[in-house]
Symmetry: C2
Subunit: 519 residues, 2 copies
């Protein structure tokens, strides 16, 4: 049996005991085991802080950028192998696997470019210098310097490649050592990427650590200059936020949790138009891709009252074309959910929605899956619900079903009403608005914005080139308020701020410039 | 007896029961009482969210700026009355009172100017638009819009005017209603300012609420779009950070807590030079001003080894000139501590330091106070300690004595060693470095920066015009990592971000510009 190792204190190490099993969600066959029992996590964190931190801080942004670029290239070279692992351990179709892995290398490459752009310097200047006194000598300026702790990353099961890479890219470029704890269930891809990163030789000792398996006592060792970034369910997010270290030592924390992302179909959009096609493609893709296991996937669809049945039927018709099955097959469009727990949770959530809404497409408990062996595998049918009188207190607005499941609901045709309903989700990562009406766009988007980290606006003129709302871009921030965890990642250089301390400097302008200047 | 009222749901209201007493710390005479018992806080928060929020969001930055300017002017008109209240209820000297009150009106005026500069718009654009696709049509941009909740401000006792005003200025300009809970003990000044603000007529209904007295159930009613900003002790900071609402609803929180601010005397600075005079004036001012009850006050003084006794004697000589006493007297330079609890805590903390360090000036338990009535009043002598072998685990590096108390310690003459010792404070608000040596400046300041929100660099050329490190400026950020709470306030438009949601917009460039454009 393949026993996955952790990379701690500069060495690959295995825990003791039986450990957890990593499965193929199509066959339920055990692919590997992991254990973190007995591993010295306090020592590993200290190693990262004392070896990795100084090594990274001694580098310029340009040098860290080159390091990140080497990682991107090394991972890209193993793309086919990684796709195979994602199909086997993640239940990913080939297309799903590429989305994850190319997202990883693309984000690393983006931050490599940013490092080059920031250049031969170690201090990031924030904004212009400000004259403080009456004379033109006394000034203030703001600089960012890397925090002296370790960046602990706790990642989600759905994007083992991208999740690891997008957080690591930003932290490493900022100058903080990374301590990555991937989700156990889909850990094969993350583990292989960790091996590739270590083998690349690009990383100074202590700059990267990897914990395969349970989190153990990791978070109890956090210190005041460490940061903790988490992606996953909101109950774990709550636990992390209430950690003694976070509460007592003001450890900086970023949480990206549940999100009931929405799509709003504009009042004037015609069936058969480019804009309707964009909308339909986005909704269906978000249900199908990664079997709906995307934190950015559309869960709620708002359409003008009176067009509810028409649009629900349109979506159902498209959903009927999706072939569920073993994802290694070319004729399969949607693989299984990633774990048995996921399957149970999705069915439970869907049943709650079914209590108040009408099931327009799919079946909660049965599914025809191509290539399935008996009743093995965590396969699930796409599920489309419709509900004609949504209320903010409904389960539809308060419970994320993390699978191929969405609900179509009506609004009164105004941007204000659509925004009110979208906001009932309590804070989300992304919502998409489809309309060519300028007044509708403005009222809807500005009504939605305070509740979201990102809003995409689909219009006829960009329909042919629009990027899917579910695609997280390194240039733009990713995160959302409230239920979505209140976090913020990426966004180009904005993302670096989490890993650095902003400090105001006050004094002679020439002195400030010398301090913040090139090394 | 003067029973202070709270301003809730658009009405002045008094709580029931006996309430708490507000005293004159020089005479221990009771000046007023306050109670929040029986007040409907949930209703008041809802009123702020439902009335104040929409009214403020309907205004442009320019209009909000004018509102803030009216508040600044109205407070300035009552400056003499407020100074009188600060002397009576805060133990402030006239100079201390001006520092607080002029800080309040100055910060309001600064944000009024910023509102004017931001102009006739409601959306704050963050950075340049970014081309996303191959064509020059698909873009991303970032905007800030006001959060839809209420900004709850829990302020400290030491700056009843400035603390209220600096938080209110930023929140109101950002477009969020303010719910202010001042410290009870020194609440007379805050209460009078609240009255002045309400009477000014500048504030829409619900835009400002004021809770005089205990916090009651206030924080249990927080919701996902609310924010909570706190200034005060770290134990309260911990309690607030662990609140169910903060943990479960990702309520945004900003904590500004304990800080063991330091001053570093450069290796080359000569006694009698302008730079030594600046250093000495800063250290002595921070012990004397507000009787050392300033979150930014210098608590630790690092001097080159071998010059410890010389510099400690120099500081002690200046401290001997400070006359402690009833602050309404013109010949008094330092008033009492603000409360009996403060006096007890300062003495306890000083005794802990005295266990390991030498008392160079002052007395922990006795003080000669001009104009004192018998043994009344919370008077305290300035206390200067010296310690010749400081260690990071010492009480000096780990316990904030919030009074006229500082400790002089040696470093080895290098910027690295000074930075290491300063960092042992576990994260602070501000540290000041005095040196004309460029290499020393750079190594010391960059070593300190990750642990601080602000660093001031005193040099000969700016010695005559330097602003004291203890003075918080609206242009520069205020806050610090770790022990200092991990928060960040002010910093010009940077401060607005806490009260707004940053959202990435994605779509046709022209559409994005129309959405973010002028109203």
């Amino acid at each position: 049996m393949n026993e996955l190792a952790s990379y701690l204190s500069g060495e690959w190490q295995r825990g003791t005991g039986k450990g957890a099993e990593l499965c193929d969600p199509s066959t339920e066959a055990v692919l590997a085991t992991v254990s973190t029992e007995g591993l010295d996590l306090a020592k590993a964190l200290t190693f990262a802080r004392e070896k990795g931190g100084p090594a990274l801080r001694a580098m310029t942004f340009a040098q860290r950028g080159e390091m990140v670029r080497t990682l991107s290239k090394a991972i890209y070279e193993k793309r086919d192998e990684l796709i195979g692992l994602a199909i086997a351990n993640g239940g990913n179709t080939r297309s799903d696997a590429k989305f994850d892995i190319d997202g990883a290398t693309g984000t690393l490459a983006y931050y490599a470019d940013l490092g080059k752009e920031l250049g031969d310097t170690q201090v990031l200047v924030d904004g212009d210098a400000i004259q403080l006194g009456r004379s033109a000598r006394l000034f203030g300026s703001h600089v960012y310097t890397p925090r002296h702790g370790v960046a602990v990353h706790v990642n989600a099961f759905n994007f083992p490649a991208w999740g690891l890479a997008e957080k690591a890219a930003v932290a490493l470029l900022a100058g903080m050592p990374v301590f990555c704890k991937p989700a156990t269930s889909t850990g094969l891809v993350a583990h292989r990427i960790a091996e590739i990163m270590v083998e690349s030789g690009a990383l100074p000792a202590g700059a990267f650590s990897f914990l395969a398996g349970g989190v153990g006592t990791l978070t109890s060792h956090l210190e005041g200059q460490d940061v903790l970034a988490f992606t996953g369910g909101s109950s774990t997010g709550r636990t992390l936020r209430a950690l003694e270290a976070v509460v007592a030592r003001a450890v900086r924390i970023n949480v990206e949790a549940d999100s009931l992302n929405a799509a709003v179909f504009g009042p004037e959009v015609e069936i058969g138009s480019d804009l309707e096609n964009l909308f339909t493609a986005d909704v269906v893709r978000d249900m199908q891709q990664k079997t709906g296991q995307k934190c950015t996937a559309i869960r709620r669809v708002y359409v003008p009252r009176g067009r509810l049945a028409e649009i629900a039927d349109l979506l159902a018709e498209r959903l009927r074309r999706i072939k569920v099955g073993v994802p290694s097959r070319d004729d399969v469009g949607m693989g299984p959910l990633s774990t048995k727990t996921q399957l149970r949770d999705v069915r439970e959530g869907a049943r709650k929605i079914a209590e108040i809404a009408k099931l327009v497409h799919g079946s909660i408990d049965t599914v025809e899956a191509l290539g399935r062996e008996g009743d093995k595998g965590f396969f699930m049918s796409p599920l489309l619900f419709s509900h004609d009188s949504p209320s903010a207190s409904d389960v539809i607005h308060n419970h994320e079903v993390f699978g191929p499941c969405a609900t179509v609901m009506p609004y009164d045709g105004t941007g204000e009403d659509a925004a009110r309903l979208v906001a009932a989700g309590g804070g989300g990562l992304v919502t998409s608005v489809y309309s060519d009406d300028a007044a509708f766009q403005k009222s809807c988007v500005l009504g939605i914005a305070p509740f979201h980290g990102r809003v995409t606006i689909g219009t006829s003129k960009v329909a042919s080139q629009a990027l899917p709302p579910g695609m997280v871009l390194p240039q733009l921030i990713h995160g959302g308020p409230g239920r979505a965890g209140g976090g913020e990642e990426l966004g180009g250089r904005r993302g670096l701020a989490f890993y650095m301390q902003r400090t105001a400097l006050q004094g002679d302008r020439a002195v400030l410039e010398a301090i913040a200047g090139k090394r």
